[in-house]
Symmetry: C2
């Protein structure tokens, strides 16, 4: 156990590391289990399995400087620091299996690692686990342009898959900011959300098959390329979002949709949150099958983004006292059809069809690719603008859309009551912003302060988690649990669910060697 | 174990029962486990839990005639006959839990039963299990017209849910021939496929939450109404398609899409199967987001349907030597947009755009609601026409679309080689038909004979299962395993997958009381 002061210290260093990453060791954020300690003999054994270029170790016979392992031990945010002395980068499923067989026999703990782009520390060691990095497994095994089904190895970078599919007029049903470095195996293992969930659904629907190496080295081959298969339990589903704690995903097959041939977007300024549910309903009705994004950002988010970009996308006088903004995107087969559908929606929103009053104060529709990206920038620029303004407490939650304003304002009021926000010269919090994916019920709350302080943290946690719990929401909508939230699981899952998760964990990983400290404590 | 003769006898009775259902007891199709035998004391105990109207038993104190239990003991096809002496119809989840607690303590086996519309005998007793029928749990707990998320109890009839949603302009992402009597809990427990999978994906994507009573009576509450929740293992996925062998689904939440405002369909006559992949690709490209069905039926299917309906939808001279036909459906937000997209597709198919030769011999586009249903009838009428022609051996398989013709013809050739088909006066097989859901890779093969005979059966099984296996396909695409195919699971799942299924089964159902004999033998 660490004292509050130690934790506080870690948080401050994290804040510092974000702006200027430092390779300083941190305290472990999860207690080390009773797994074995890696020896020189183990490393020699792995050297008999993998090519020398697939191994990086500070132990003999490799003797790499420990610093060469830093990029594998530490997460990209500089928040978590592992102490692993061995990175293995197998090239085949058979190699992964052989590695795990040895680890299982020796009770050596392993952390599977993809592109190391996660936000919750799932892909880096909590302590001194062996790092099994999938980067060398990056073959596309097959693609069928008729069915749109691709079979790819876990280490394929998301953007590479997208680029591969582009000439075939298909897309991966997943898009993320980290696409240039995240790996598809990591995406599946963390059930990554992102920008295409509203349209294409979750990976539980689009992943058709998985090849998984289990903790004991067995290869569970469920690499089906069938859309329909009702022969027994759909075991592969367990590994989607398991953060590598039940086994290592080595390959997968995904149903890829045809690429849209046209995309449009617009930004609307809403008088108040009260219009949000109605507008979302109208968008679903009138845009129906071409609706591909429905995103929210509140006034504070908007102002901050405009401040940082130096541009105001909407006419100041028109937006008036707007409380919040939505970005709507369409993706369809024909631009003119999508435009007509959008025009119908806008007529209703402006109140020109019915005699009722307008639902929006103002709106702007992109007229070019440049404008399309500029409008997206208003929404996607929010976290960046927050990070440039100060230290950011980030919450990634699922709550009912009707509660988005209520939840955000409850956090604001809490901070104000505590004298931390809009309470005079001692207010250390400058912004409380709500934004997110309305279509997915996924709200991001960013609290921007001049520094990370124990007072702010105490005001926010567990307050925010309890608030989420009171709405039967999720404390992790799309980022996962990892080292950050595993100990907070009880806010979103009841005792019986947690008990059964633990039983499932122990069934597959009876020695507790697979990514210990993540998802569920055993 | 039963002798071949006994099995043969059961099959003949099944054939007879289909045309005129008989309430004759059959041999059990799965060996009875060592679970306890129901006693009068047990029935009295249940009478203390449930209302008298929720219990039907041939044991005291109820003493209902055993025949009153027939509709619960027997499946609707008249293929499977159970010997249960007790039907329980609980009204609440708490009641289900209390029932299971007693069964668990006493080691009494249970079969959960929905609308009893399954095709593989999953929902009827293999022997003398207690029948737990969900019909009395038919409340819609909530519906949010903004998000489209409905929370319903397991006993809700699919069509009732559709009717409930219609005024809210939403649909259930599932449609089946049995919609008038099947229950949503059974649909989820069998991972039902049907007509909307191509467009809306599988239930693994659209089911957001489940409430499940586990074999020991614990209530696993994962009845989330969130689209995104990354807090731990997605345990609910295990129960989707588990056929009630891991627990009883008592309620669920489903993401419902907005109702389409326009629908169109057309039927195309293809010179040969060679055009099928290209046309499917073109349909996906040009119809993109409005494509909602892409169905195949071969020439034999077409001729038989035309023969039985007495109508020929297409011009005889135009279809010429066409080998097969496809039905394409669009569902969209605006009829005129969908028509324009269809017109573009047809121009290409007819070869009027490029200088290449036409891909189709002929096509007909529905011009009215009547014609829309008439065209669907060509495809949906195939199994009915087969049933009217003779005894039908039915295979419901997933194989690559490119292999549809090959697989169907391989079965034809097999029967021809055996002198059973197109081999002179002794040919007992009149038709071998291939049809199905191209968009899902799901092929149905119907073999129509003048009688069920050991020769035909021996020619077909395990030949068809081995054929499916050689294509890494599924021996059950959408119907499940049940009593019919559980013993054939090895054709579609390897040893390691089966071992892990068995471990999962034993983890949740350590006493083996939950729907024994289905999905996986323990």
């Amino acid at each position: 156990m660490h004292s509050a002061r130690q934790i506080r210290f870690a948080r401050l260093r994290y804040a510092f590391a974000r702006s200027r990453p430092q390779l300083v060791r941190s305290m472990a954020t999860a207690p080390r289990g009773d797994y074995a300690t890696l020896t020189e003999e183990d490393v020699k054994h792995f050297a008999g399995i993998l090519a020398p270029t697939s191994i990086l170790s500070s132990l003999p016979p490799f003797n790499n400087p420990q610093s060469e392992l830093d990029t594998y031990n530490n997460d990209w945010l500089g928040k978590y620091y592992g102490r692993s002395k061995l990175v293995l980068k197998p090239k085949t499923t058979a190699e992964v299996s052989a590695v795990l067989k040895h680890c299982y026999r020796r009770k050596l703990a392993i952390v599977p690692q993809g592109g190391n782009t996660g936000l919750v520390g799932s892909g880096v060691p909590a302590n001194d686990e062996v790092i099994l990095n999938l980067a060398n497994m990056s073959n596309i095994r097959s693609f069928d342009p008729m069915t749109g089904i691709i079979v790819a190895e876990a280490g394929c970078i998301l953007e590479n898959l997208s680029n591969y599919l582009a000439p075939h007029s298909h897309i991966i049903p997943l898009d993320l900011g980290a696409k240039g470095s995240c790996q598809i195996g990591g995406n599946v293992s963390t059930n990554a959300g992102g920008l295409r969930v509203l349209r294409y659904g979750s990976l539980h629907g689009s992943v058709l098959g998985l090849e998984v190496v289990l903790p004991n080295g067995e290869i569970l081959d469920q690499l089906s390329t069938m859309r329909k298969d009702n022969t027994g339990y759909d075991l592969k589903q367990l590994f989607i979002g398991a953060e590598g704690t039940l086994g290592i995903v080595t390959a997968l097959s995904i149903q890829c949709p045809p690429a849209p041939r046209a995309q449009q977007n617009l930004v609307l300024a809403l008088p108040s949150y009260n219009q949000l549910p109605e507008i979302f309903k109208l968008a679903k009705t009138h845009l129906s099958e071409v609706l591909s994004a429905f995103e929210l950002f509140d006034r504070e988010s908007y102002e901050l983004v405009c401040h940082h970009t130096g541009q105001r996308a909407l006419n100041e006088s028109e937006i008036g006292g707007s409380e919040c903004f939505v970005l709507i995107e369409t993706s369809g087969g024909r631009a003119e059809h999508d435009e007509e559908k959008l025009a119908s929606l806008l007529e209703i929103l402006y109140g020109t069809v019915s005699s009722s009053s307008p639902l929006i104060n103002s709106g702007v529709l992109s007229q070019s690719a440049d404008q399309f990206f500029s409008l997206w920038k208003l929404r996607e620029g929010v976290p960046e603008a927050a990070g440039k303004t100060g230290k950011v407490y980030k919450y990634d939650i699922s709550v009912p859309v009707r509660e988005f304003m209520n939840v955000t304002n409850t956090v604001r009021n809490r901070l104000q009551e505590k004298g931390l926000y809009r309470s005079g010269p001692n207010s250390r919090v400058s912004h409380v912003m709500g934004y997110g994916h309305v279509g997915d019920g996924n709200l991001h709350i960013n609290v921007v302060a001049d520094a990370y302080t124990p007072e702010i943290e105490a005001a926010l946690e567990p307050f925010v988690f309890e608030l989420v719990q009171s709405h039967k929401g999720s404390i992790s909508a799309e980022h996962g649990l990892g080292l950050q939230k595993t100990q907070h699981l009880h806010y979103s899952k009841g005792q019986i669910s947690r008990d059964w998760m633990r039983k499932v964990k122990l069934l597959f990983d009876d020695k507790g060697i697979m990514n210990p400290g993540k998802v569920i404590a055993v």
